[in-house]
Symmetry: C2
Subunit: 450 residues, 2 copies
């Protein structure tokens, strides 16, 4: 997917030291597009091009480069220049980046950073992964509530250059306690009354998150309240950072991918599919696959236990895969519905009885119809229509068992404080495989008492 359109021109400009054109190249396009056009260059070439961009723009373009290339640049280019770049990066991005750079190089870079930024990096890296503290940025627009609208506009104009977002202006007291919020829109609307105090126009009922809140909860709040950014406070209600909408979008994508992996029983990858080493990938799959395999071993012992039934009524075997897969599929559907409803907040633990009733009714309707089809198929294969009745009864019971287990297990997991998504498709299906065989064999024994 590398864009090679401009590569020859870029290399020529570099060879000729054509400062005017290189500066123009850095400035003319959206930084994300500039980064795309540079993708085919080597790390030293990229760094050479970036020298022609103003520091602010250099940081923006750098931020859109591939992570691998960013790491390469940080690890191989001049330490002093890189320290400057790192101190210009937004605080949240630079912590994420340094996290992936070789520790010995980070150790060389840290002493070259201004002491304030060094402390900021150490503090941000100390928060648990996936917490609000770990994804927040510490640069935001602050105001005092005693400022007038005119003073606030001047103050923001002064801060604007260096800040990631100025769309929410946070009002804090001398000890950084969060007092209120003024949106840029409110401030601009109030320009006609320049002597109004900020304290008079600010909103006081704020939606905030705590430093240790989980990133998924943060994303939920931002989505629910339609926010551009959410303030992060500590236990004393001091404003310590903000999380902006673009980071929230990243969190949502990350969580969606994690959920997809869960539903496929793959342990989440850290890099992309093609970049992950085969050994790592095999290990991340093998772990779950082996657990599921050991679970499925129970089916062997169950069938072995009922060897007599299988030997006396061999036609039952023909329906074995159909019965376990139908039970597994109906269980998957229920699990998917309930996991999705739980995470959207449409269903809560208190609804368990309604959920059971609904799933039972659906189990009867679905199992009944599929059982009827199964009966028609069984008729020519079974010795008589009395014997064939084992199939529809088993299908009905297995589908009901699937809908019940598929819906109750996620609720149970939520009740125990675990992520309901863990009880995802392959695990539900594995469980129904075993239950399905037990039901099948027992229905056969009861009805065909040979």
């Amino acid at each position: 997917m590398t864009n090679t359109l401009y590569l020859p021109e870029l290399r020529e400009m570099l060879a000729e030291n054509n400062a005017a054109e290189l500066r123009e190249f850095c400035q003319a396009l959206h930084p994300a597009r500039t980064a795309e056009f540079m993708e085919g260059l080597t790390a030293p070439e990229m760094w050479a091009v970036l020298q022609y961009a103003e520091p602010q723009l250099r940081v923006e373009i750098f931020n859109f480069l591939d992570r691998e290339k960013q790491i390469k640049i940080v690890e191989t280019m001049d330490r002093h220049e890189i320290a400057q770049l790192i101190s210009d990066l937004p605080p949240d991005d630079r912590v994420d980046l340094l996290d992936e750079v070789k520790p010995e190089i980070v150790a060389e870079l840290m002493p070259l950073l201004p002491v304030e930024e060094r402390r900021d990096i150490q503090r941000l890296s100390s928060f648990p992964e996936q917490s609000a503290g770990a994804i927040m940025t510490t640069e935001f627009a602050r105001l005092s509530e005693n400022l007038t609208v005119r003073q606030a506009v001047e103050e923001i104009a002064r801060q604007a250059e260096s800040l990631e977002t100025i769309y929410y202006l946070y009002v804090v007291d001398e000890e950084d306690h969060l007092r209120g919020l003024v949106s840029a829109r409110q401030l601009v609307s109030a320009i006609g009354k320049p002597d109004t105090r900020i304290g008079e126009i600010m909103e006081r009922d704020l939606v905030t998150v705590n430093l240790l809140d989980d990133q998924e909860a943060v994303a939920e709040k931002v989505a629910h309240y339609d926010l551009l950014a959410i303030p992060v406070v500590d236990d004393e209600w001091r404003l310590v950072g903000i999380i902006t909408h673009d980071d929230v979008i990243d969190v949502m994508r990350e969580e969606a991918v994690e959920d997809a992996y869960h539903s496929g029983a793959v342990y989440p990858l850290e890099k992309s599919y093609l970049e992950t080493r085969l050994v790592t990938l095999t290990w991340k799959r093998g772990l779950w696959l082996t657990i599921l395999f050991f679970g499925a071993l129970v089916t062997i012992f169950t069938l072995n236990h009922h060897e007599g039934v299988i030997k006396t009524i061999p036609w039952l075997v023909f329906f074995l895969p159909l019965i376990v897969s139908t039970g597994g599929n109906s269980g998957n559907q229920s699990a998917t519905l309930i996991i999705t409803a739980l995470s959207a907040g449409d269903v809560s633990l208190g609804d368990w009885w309604r959920v059971i009733r609904r799933e039972l009714v659906m189990g009867v309707m679905l199992g009944g119809s599929l059982g009827a089809i199964g009966y028609l198929i069984a008729l020519p294969l079974a010795p008589g229509y009395g014997d064939a009745i084992v199939i529809p009864i088993t299908i009905l019971l297995v589908v009901m068992c699937g809908t019940l287990a598929g819906s109750l297990l996620p609720l149970l997991f939520r009740r125990m404080g675990l992520d309901p998504a863990l009880m995802s498709n392959p695990f539900v299906a594995g469980l129904i495989d075993v239950l399905g065989i037990i039901i099948y064999m027992n229905v056969a024994i009861l009805l065909l008492d040979h």
Copy 2:
């Protein structure tokens, strides 16, 4: 999840017509929280409370109410008052709302709306569902490039009250062709040079979407370029609307839920789980369940065809569920990995050969290890260690078949222009069930030539 904390107080205020306190209630909190506290009220009570909010705030609170309650209010309250509310709603939200209101009531409301808004509603509803045109809003801040910074600030201060977002200011010519963009941040930074023309500070390289682009592609672009809003243009590059970050977040959640339903073989629901009627729910599940059931019928005929093998070597039956579920699980893992990688853009069609090689290697490693465990389990159950060898060889082949089919089918679907997510877990597993049994029976025939 209804918040009943304030209900008695609210009802008392309404009974007493306590205007001062009701006005205070509407203003004091974030509109989303005000809406939460009103949740337990009836539609007429809600509407009575909303009368105490300024029109702008009324719209904001209304927008955070449950969709059911919104519809109830629109359908039952005074037509003229509702027409006013609707004309105050953001254009994209009002189209979504009217879409769910009874057509006869919409027909009564439409003539009460100003002609301009009536046209806007008709135009927006004409775009295909899930297109950029269908989710955009037609209210945004416009500027002419000949304005000075001072004039622009005054102009925006004038427009700010009525607009959803003023953080990006779009520069258009007399025929609404999109010429550039100035962010509120750039404008505020330029306040020191009030006579600069907008044309000099605006960005000209813009990221846009077309009216007919799919909402998923829109969300991708906004996420990739870290935008607050994206302009929507028609084929003549005329600016017709914008899509804001909060709508993009909604699209991402919608798509994530749709993907989850796919992976569980449920036809996407329109309402929440508990609100969907049981008949609808059964139908949306039954459709896929029946398709999968008919697919699984093939396993019956395959086993029936090999009746001889099963009767001669009855211990083979014990391993049947284990073999098909292991094949299905490894196929699911591959499908999940490839579908996720395709949608993240980490893998493209051109990578098919690399994908096959990787999946084959993983198939050999995973199938080999699980096969070894299977061999140990088979030893005491099979008549001899020569016979037991059927199990590891089958597991190896079935797992390889699972990884290959699981990875190639999504690629094939993408190649045919279909959504790779359709080839999701239950379908891959169903296919591997059939292939697994065929492999198993043939390995047994070849090795145990009785």
